[in-house]
């Protein structure tokens, strides 16, 4: 086989690579001794680079429809069986975007962890790659049960990673995080099997076709199944009141892991966005719009809880955890409206908030390194009880270069994070929030009270974040130098800079990015193209091999 032919062959199998590559690399690493770190690092970096390339290629392919296609949707049949019978992977604009986000975030977090966190516990590299595999699989799959399997892969890896670095706080957090997700998985299974019991299919596209035809007697059962299934995703997406585990867990996790967890709440949002519009969009007949009120009002409640938590947080990791809640609530409320212009703004906000929260988690770890333990609680209580005796511990010696500009750079990073999380200009957080607000205020006519509440909460959450971040910033950076001189390695700077730089890039290229999000939201709102593409082969009655380019071999 010539090189070109091999390359062509590889291109046909691109959609399966985001799952296969981390699986093979992660499993391979288990064979080698725990002490051969260099080998594992190189292997992981190669895998991550390959994932970045694949995600880029898939993103490019999602931009250009093939001749005869309405939308650029690529269907990869795993066993080469036509869709409702076999399992498919589907690459469209939304999944390609999420894959790219996961790859970028994974690479940045991994590079950050190379400074020291990767040595903090066993099997880190394998777990990290398996987490990426689960994420990628959840984004790609077109089948509900496969979604369950990939969720479990992702969760199993996250159980290991949350304990990475060990310590009592992490084990205690794991003791809550793990059973809650195990129970959520039970809900997932009950929901999936109820839906199967009523419709007889697990393929998402097939399901979307069958839901309008479900008889009135079975409809209650179907909606009960969808509701129970939704609970599983809402636990992941951290909707109030299913989110009490999140701030503690995210604050306890080691920095690179917490940064990766920033995208795990977004997996829940992703699935809800996809299923809500595919299964219960305009075409769903009597079930159209099922659950949208829960998403909308639940999202608003989550924003309210998140912004209260942001204000009340006494430590930076918890502040970051509550910011995750704010962004997740905003997204859920936007999904609940099923309004394409709002969803396009929400997608932009999703990318921006994931990157900025992840950067913030990484930054916090670097900043906290130079601080006395418990300094945050001290700082907050100082505001109430006046000055306390200053107690400057000698800074522990750490390996690394003491860059002369450390504080200045960290300060700038902190300001960038503040602007991003609070939604202030000039960075992408502002554009995301502005897109949401302008979509809400768009058009003439009377706006409902709910819209005004959404607008109010959006503005208020930005304001609360600004207050909390400013307070934290003052207490952290405006202190005597000797108490605050963290030693930071270059790779750590690089990782944070990449994430914040991407947010800056999103600002500069906001036009094309918004155009992409607009097209994605339009595609999601008209699921018929997705359904047609997935079920095309079965429709035509063709034997699958060679029927179209995406056919597996």
């Amino acid at each position: 086989m010539s090189m070109a032919a091999l390359f062509d062959h590889l291109r046909d199998h691109l959609p399966v690579l985001p799952i296969l590559l981390p699986l093979v690399a992660g499993a391979l690493m288990l064979v080698f001794d725990e002490r051969r770190r260099m080998l594992k690092i190189v292997l992981s970096l190669i895998t991550l680079a390959a994932l970045l390339w694949v995600a880029g290629a898939l993103l490019a392919s999602a931009l250009a429809p093939e001749p005869g296609q309405r939308e650029a949707i690529h269907v990869y049949r795993l066993g080469n069986w036509p869709a409702p019978f076999g399992i498919v992977l589907v690459v469209d604009r939304l999944s390609a975007l999420m894959l790219a986000l996961a790859a970028v975030l994974g690479t940045a977090s991994f590079i950050f962890s190379l400074a020291r966190w990767h040595k903090a516990g066993p099997r880190y590299y394998t777990l990290f790659l398996f987490l990426l595999m689960g994420l990628n699989g959840a984004f790609l799959t077109g089948d509900l049960f496969n979604l369950f399997v990939f969720f479990e892969v992702m969760l199993a890896a996250s159980y290991g990673l949350v304990l990475h670095g060990s310590g009592t706080a992490r084990i205690k957090a794991g003791l809550h995080y793990i059973p809650i997700n195990l129970v959520a998985s039970s809900f997932f299974l009950v929901g999936v099997s109820l839906i199967y019991g009523v419709t007889g299919t697990l393929n998402m596209a097939d399901l979307a076709e069958r839901i309008p035809q479900v008889s009135a007697a079975d409809r209650t059962l179907l909606e009960a199944g969808a509701g129970i299934l939704g609970i599983a995703f809402l636990v992941k997406a951290a909707m109030w009141p299913l989110n009490f585990w999140l701030p503690t867990t995210y604050a306890a996790a080691s920095a690179p892991v917490a940064a990766m967890f920033a995208i795990m709440t977004k997996v829940g949002v992703y699935v809800l966005l996809r299923l809500s519009l595919l299964l219960f969009g305009g075409m769903a007949g009597a079930s159209a719009g099922f659950g949208t009120d829960v998403l909308f009002y639940g999202g608003l409640a989550t924003v309210a809880v998140g912004l209260t938590g942001v204000l009340a947080s006494q430590s930076m990791p918890r502040l970051a955890g509550y910011s995750v809640l704010v962004s997740s609530g905003t997204l859920l409320a936007a999904v609940g409206t099923q309004n394409p212009s709002l969803i396009s703004g929400a997608l932009f906000y999703l990318v921006s908030s994931t990157l900025s929260v992840a950067a913030f988690f990484l930054l916090i770890e670097v900043i906290e390194r130079g601080r006395i333990a418990g300094a945050d609680v001290l700082a907050v209580s100082m505001e109430f009880f006046g000055d306390m005796e200053e107690e400057a511990d000698p800074v522990k010696e750490e390996v690394g270069v003491a860059l002369p500009l450390t504080i200045a750079v960290l300060g700038c990073g902190f300001i960038a994070c503040t602007a991003l999380l609070a939604g202030l200009p000039p960075l992408s957080g502002f554009i995301g929030k502005f897109a949401l607000l302008s979509a809400l205020m768009d058009g003439a006519g009377v706006r409902s009270a709910a819209t005004w509440v959404f607008v109010g909460l959006l503005s208020l959450s930005g304001f609360a974040t600004l207050i909390a971040m400013t307070r934290t910033g003052i207490n952290t950076f405006w202190v005597p130098m000797e108490a605050m001189l963290p030693k930071v390695r270059r790779v750590e700077f690089a990782a944070i800079t990449v994430l914040l730089g991407l947010c800056a890039g999103l600002t500069v290229f906001a036009g094309p990015a918004m155009a992409y999000m607009d097209a994605t939201a339009r595609m999601l709102n008209r699921p018929s193209a997705y359904i047609e593409e997935v079920l095309a082969v079965a429709r035509a009655g063709l034997p699958a091999p060679g029927a179209n380019r995406e056919g597996g071999h």
């Binding site: 049960f145 009592t168 059973p179 195990l182 998985s185 039970s186 019991g197």
Partner: protein, 112 residues
Amino acid sequence: MEFLLAIGIGVFAGSGVWLLLRPRTYQVIIGLSLVSYAVNLFIFGMGRLRSGAAPILEKGEVGDPARFADPMPQALVLTAIVIGFAMTALFLVVILAARGRTGSDHVDGLGE
């Protein structure tokens, strides 16, 4: 048969939920196991109950699909059992670690 299965699922789920809400880690893990049994039986039930039916097709005939037991939920149950078992084992390790670290088997890691 339906009645028996429904009662079985109900008893498993009920006891499981009760145990899940108890403060001791051992009770929680047994509760999780019971809930997963209930869920597995439930998935199985979603393929409709039928006794004496062939799993896919009878030997040497094409047959009527309506007469056969649905193999799909059975495959799903297998997957769910394997995953549930692995997760329970993993949680057990965390519980042991928590017991060692905090000296207590309370879910919040509190002492006596």
